[in-house]
Each structure stands twice: as C-alpha cells, then as structure tokens.
Symmetry: C2
Subunit: 334 residues, 2 copies
Amino acid sequence: MSVKPARPATRTDVARLAGVSTTVVSYVINDGPRRVTSRTRQRVLDAIERLGYRPNANARALKTGETGLIGMVVPEVVNAYFAEFIQALDRAAQTMGSSILLGITYEEAGREERAVRSLVDRGVDSLIYQVDLADQRLYQLGGGDLPRVLLDRSDVVPGMATVGADTEAGARAAVEHLVSHGHERIGYVGSPMAGRKVDLRRVVWDEVLREHGLPGVPPALTSWNREGGYRGARELMASDEPPTAIFAGSDLIGVGVLRALHELGMDVPGDVAVVSFDGTAESAYSWPPLTAVRQPFEEMARRALEVLSERGEAPGSSVFPMQLIVRGSCGCQG
Amino acid sequence: MSVKPARPATRTDVARLAGVSTTVVSYVINDGPRRVTSRTRQRVLDAIERLGYRPNANARALKTGETGLIGMVVPEVVNAYFAEFIQALDRAAQTMGSSILLGITYEEAGREERAVRSLVDRGVDSLIYQVDLADQRLYQLGGGDLPRVLLDRSDVVPGMATVGADTEAGARAAVEHLVSHGHERIGYVGSPMAGRKVDLRRVVWDEVLREHGLPGVPPALTSWNREGGYRGARELMASDEPPTAIFAGSDLIGVGVLRALHELGMDVPGDVAVVSFDGTAESAYSWPPLTAVRQPFEEMARRALEVLSERGEAPGSSVFPMQLIVRGSCGCQG
DNA sequence: TTGAAAGCGATACCAA
DNA sequence: TTGGTATCGCTTTCAA
C-alpha cells in the first residue's frame, strides 16, 4: 500500500515515518556500512514502501563521486555494428545497476568534443570509446583518473586498455574461405582509414592472396557504409579483370556490394561470391544472405565492463575470436 | 593556458583565484540571476579558463532539481527505425544542452519496468515513450509532474501528449501507389499488435482495397522484423491466389519479404511489387531498392522536444506527413 | 546498534 | 553589484 505524496519522499520522510534517524535509513538502503537490527530494518523497509521512496541519484552522486553512468562514445547509432555493442553493453551494465550514457559524434569534427565533454561533465564513472577520435587529446578529457577502454578499435592509444575482436584471424577466415571455393581473383571493398591507421582486414586479405600465389587486385577504398560498398563494387567490376569474389570490409559494405552486383545483372554467388565482416542481423536477410565473420558483441561488451571495474590494473588488451557464419553468398549452398 | 589540477577545480577554487565570492561565479556561469560588472566577469572567466573548471552537473542537479537529461524509452536500438529517432532526438537535444538517456526494454516484460524506473530514478527531466508498455501504470512512474510525450506510437495513453506521423495518409499513399500500377491483388505483411490496439496500416490497406473494389486478401500477421517479413511473404505466396503486390508494414518486414520472394524465384517488381513503411536507409540498399513511405524523423524529434518544454499546456497531438519515396521495388522504374 | 553532524558542489535569497 | 549563508538529499565518521 503506497501513499502518493505531492512532493517526492526524501530519506528524511522515511526516517520520520520509521521513527529512526536518517543515518539508519542510509544503512539499510546501502546494506552498510553498519549493521541494523532486523526489526529496525523492517520498519525502515515498510516506510520506504509506504512512501514510495526512491533515493535521489544526484544527491548520492554528489556525495560519493560516482554516478553509475558509463559513457560510451560512438560515431552513430543508425548502424547495426554500433547498435549491437550499445545493446550488449546496456544489458551488461543493467546487471551492475549502471546505465550507458551515449555520446554520439556523428563523425563531425565539431560534435566530437561536445560529445565527449558532455559525458565527462555529466560525471560518468568511466568511458568506452568506440570511435576513432580525430584529436587524440580528447581521449584525456576529464583527467587521468577516469577508467577508459577502447572497444574494437582500429587505432591504438598509448596507455589505454583495449578490448577487441581478432580482426586478423577473422579476416583470414573470410578470405581463406573464398580461396577454398577456388576463387583466384578476390577483391576487397573497404575504406581508407583516418590518419595513418592501417586497415587490418585489407592487410590480411592481401597477405592471404600472396600466400596462395594469387594475383593481387587493387582494393576499392570508398567509405564504411552501403553507398561505399555499392561504389566499391562498381569500381571493382569495371576493371579489365573483375574479381570472381569480394571480401567486404563490413556488413553495410557487403549490402552495397550486393546491390551493385544485382544491378549489373551478376549472379551471387554464381558469378561473384561475397563474404562480409561483422555479422549483424542485416547480413542475414540480404539477398542472398551474406556469409560473414561475426563480431563477438556480447563477450566483448562484458569484458569491456570488467576492464573498467578493474581500474588500476595495467592497461591490457583482450582479444576475442570471430566466427565464420556460412550463408548463401559464398557459394557453399549454391 | 590551463593548469591541470590534481583534484578537479570547484567553484570555490575559481572564486578564490578570481578574488570574488562563489556567488559571483555562479552569476557569471548562469548569466544571472544578478548582473555582474564586465570587469569582474572577465576575471571570473579567466579563472575558469586557467583552472579548467567545469561545473559539477550532479551538484547543480541536486540544487535545481533539473538534470538536463531526457529519458527515452525504446524497445531496442538495433533497428534503424528506433535508431533514426534516437539520433534525431540526440541532435535536437544537443542544441538545448540536454542529453538523451536511453531506457531499452528489449520488449521483455521484466526489463520494461527496470528500464523506465532507471530513467526516473536518475532524475530525467522528461520522458519520451517510443514503445508500447505492457503495463499502462508504467507510464505514471515518477509521478504526474514529469512532462511526457508519446512518439509515433500506436497506443494512446489518456492525457498524454503525442507526436506522430500521419500513418493513415502514409499507408494510403503506399497502397494507392500499388493500385495505380494496376495491381488487383495486394497483400499486407505486418504483425498483430499487442493488446487490442489496431494497426492503422492494415486498416487503411483494407480500406483502400475496398474503395477500389479490389478483392480482399488475408493479411499475413507475423512479427515486426526481417524474419517476420520473410515468413509473412512465404505465407502470402503459398495461397491459391498469391498477390501481385505486397505492402510491407515496416522496412524490416519489407527486407524479409524481398528475401522470401527471391528465394521463390520471383522477380521484383515484375512478378510481385513491394512498397514498405518507414523509409530508413536499409530500404534504399535492398535489392531491388524499396519504394517506401518515409517517417519524418527529424521533424518529429524536434517537435517532441518542443512539446516537452511546453509543459503545462494541454496535451495535444502533432501529426506529420509521410513522404512516398519511389525506388525500384514498386515497378515505376522497371 | 543508533544518531548527530559535517560536507559533497552549486544556487539564490537576503543583506550590505 | 557583490557576498554570506542556508539548502538540496545523501553518506559516513565519530560519539553515544
């Protein structure tokens, strides 16, 4: 039976109703730091229930210096790759009573600093970077005491913990799979990386080709979205010796590639086979469904939160295996 | 030139360095409520700069009762339909110095209450519901004083402001477009709505068919995702008189429909034309690209924030027009 | 086991 | 125009 007060009940109201001091209310809410008789405890619990009392998170944050908020910096959310991480992180955070606060950069120079600063100013307890910030100094925003982790990122920031997928093995699995189908001209569609970062997918693709004595193919470097995949595939197919297989650097790219191939009247995987990178839901429903190497979203998210709570440890890096998911676009089921 | 203090600077540090009282610091930061000489003001500004001072959001929230956080309740984020709104809202909120705090329900009964409660407990200033909550009482969480708005929602909650798209006109445009192409058997793939809510898309589809004297077709009601679209189209195409056109209740459904049609060896739009609802980026890169009626995401987001700041007004409802985007799947370009 | 009280950082009333 | 100070709701030390 809860009574609706006009003004939200505070801890003082609870104390008064329970006939104890506010200190005791605090003790029962936090299960410490002092013990409370179970009788007293029950009285407090009853009062809380009757008043519908909920602790004021801001007051608590002010006092303890912890908000229970985890800042996550992402370039966008309309992209299943990031959205998958956001959800995985959110679920993991829920079990710890924390919440994810998003800082979206939109990959616009101006918004980048705003996004990160906003998180820091709001007092997040830690930060997860899922974006390559243009200005390295932004990684230091808020001072050195905030636990931070780089999640599945291409750039490396000295002294910062890292959680990522085994891109190298994943890319290798993808390309080797295409090779195993007998393809000899295998193209790659990706994007140039900002700064002088290297795209491991591209590097590995190149390596595998070399290892098998296959001819090199100029990579099509456009942008990390569907449009980029589309343009890249058009480019690749317009060459004198078009590839018979394409390794797409992301699912979105893969989808764009498929569209281009269809437009050209090519059969997938008959004329051109495709394997993509990421393995989000969208890849499963394209036509044909994309064979892809999948990111271990949940595992990485859980690990990221672990890393953040182990603050103080030496910044290490965790690597998780990717998994090849065979669907229709590679030719296995064709 | 900013000095990095070990401990973050507080307003007291600023006051000391500027040789003024903390009150004045407050005045210049908030531009009021009292005026400050421009000379004093400048001294304070300098001190802030030198110390790298940033106001503590929690302390401020405690004092003012406002956090600058807007709670947004969504079922998921790995779905461009919701992600588009999240981004649109985020951008709009940024211009007001507010942030969007997400409460993801995952459409799981248990998480629903947690998600909403977590937002309220964190002290959000207002709430945007983008999900049909199973338990209507959850809409009242946090008391009656929180401004709330329902964003593009199918259910109606008495006394709550609403911002939505003109689903009816949108659906009509979609179906009429198919009719204008000469189709006589037009199917619908959607999903049963929770509770006894009605799916306007389905109702309008039915209406339009009737108006044109076209034969009714049993709708395929599955679920609002790609898988649902797939199953729905299989179902529709397995009937004795399969449709020659399909109205898909969402982009995801549309994508699933396309996959099913391809699997059956049908040509789109040659054998079956498709028009979908929502118009997210994914619809533009399916094969063939989906003709769709598009949600006015940005406009609705902006309006939602306006409504929230007009607290106290009578709860009205804003409706925005949808736009038909013609691409390849309807037959216009075939 | 319980309570009084200091203090987290910021706001704004009331005086000066 | 500027400053002293009470206060927001909560945590926790110290004393009872």
